[in-house]
Amino acid sequence: MEALRAYLALVGFGENGWGKALLTATAMTCAVAVAGFLTGSIIGTLVAWAKLSRSPLLRGFGTTYTTVLRGIPDLLVIYLLYFGGSAALGTVAGFFSSDGFIGMPAFVTGMLAIGIVSGAYQAEVLRGAFLATPRGEIEAAKAVGMRAGTMLRRIVAPLVLRLALPGLGNTWQLVLKETALISVTGLVELLRQSQIAAGSTRRPFEFYFTAILLYLAITWVSTLLFRRAEDRTMRGLRRAA
């Protein structure tokens, strides 16, 4: 009981509690995950479009993109963006006669790294969903004289999203867990904040344990949300079972 009370004081909202800091960091984790996931959706759509295009050059590019980014560790991509981006920023700043190291903003690094990696996974999900849409629906849209833009908005996008939703849900869970790696750039998200708290209180177990609980809470809530979204997009469809 005494141990539990000490633990709750440590991670709680009292005078010496880290509760507020941990919750702010959890919000930062969610923010960088959402920003990265949306960046990844844009990249993923473009790459899926490239992989489905008739041009061999674009297809080659799309295949290379998805193969390379799914085959190398995410940490390498983060290092590339953080150090490579900082070096590039330093060069640009050099023109304006500023000197010294300019750090790439950690949030932007995280957003881009997550976007670039999850873009490869989202591209595969979207491509699979597009290939699974019934051809008849697209032919019907053409038959009633829809233009490409209208057809994309009214027919293709809703159908693809419905089929892609479970896969996108999986990618979102990957993205959430990948945000922990962004802590290496110094962005104060959940893991970095736990490291800071663990270092300052010398109670690493309590803080990493709490971090795991908070991550589980986020993944659990997002599972529920995605399930509801799936149910919603399946309205009006008869199911086999």
């Binding site: 190398i72 290092y79 790696l181 893991l191």
Partner: protein, 240 residues
Amino acid sequence: MDPIFMWETFKVLLGGLPLTLNLAATSVLIGGVLGLLLALGALAGGRPARAFVAAYVFVFRGSPLLVQIFLIYYGLGQFRPALQAMGLWGILREPYWCAIIALSLNTAAYSSEILRGGFRAVTIQQIEAGRACGMSGLLLMRRIVMPIALRHALPAYGNEIILMVKATALASIITLMEVTGLAGKLIAETFRAVEVFVVAGAIYLSLNFALSWALSRLEHRLTPHLRPRPVPFAKVSPHA
């Protein structure tokens, strides 16, 4: 892009490859066995066993591997006197063993779900056919259930192995100098992020290509019954 620098980088990074392979192979082996036990527990165990496996899978798949590594490496250090008394401190103070424990426990959760799917693909007819031939218990398991289940699980399990090779990169954060660790160190020293990234990326890609090639060969070998039959040569009798 400086070829001489890249060649030097390649030689440095190659020094980390044995550790990368060691971490991946050891944790896939331990995690595979644990995953098999968990899958069997979920399928054949009672209610408590099923609940335990479900909770295990939820925790290890729902939180980032890096936090799991930190909890084991830094978190357990807090209980040093107790661990010393149990004789476990010798293992838990080594970053190598902490990485192996975290990677194995993590992949066990994913493997158990993959294997559970494989076991569920064994149809009741196949089991009945085995029983009709007089097999039961371990013999049925070894000859019928396991081969069908493992064959079914192989493609997804192959993906998990490749994910594990990528996951070993996280061990670099607890000071293990495998390929990514050496790459990060080189980038921080030289600030030539692009060149080092290209070389390190190429090492991981070739490793994963080799792995997926080997896995597809294995899958091909294990599924002769799914391939179209070779067209037999027409028998031409010389005397006809």
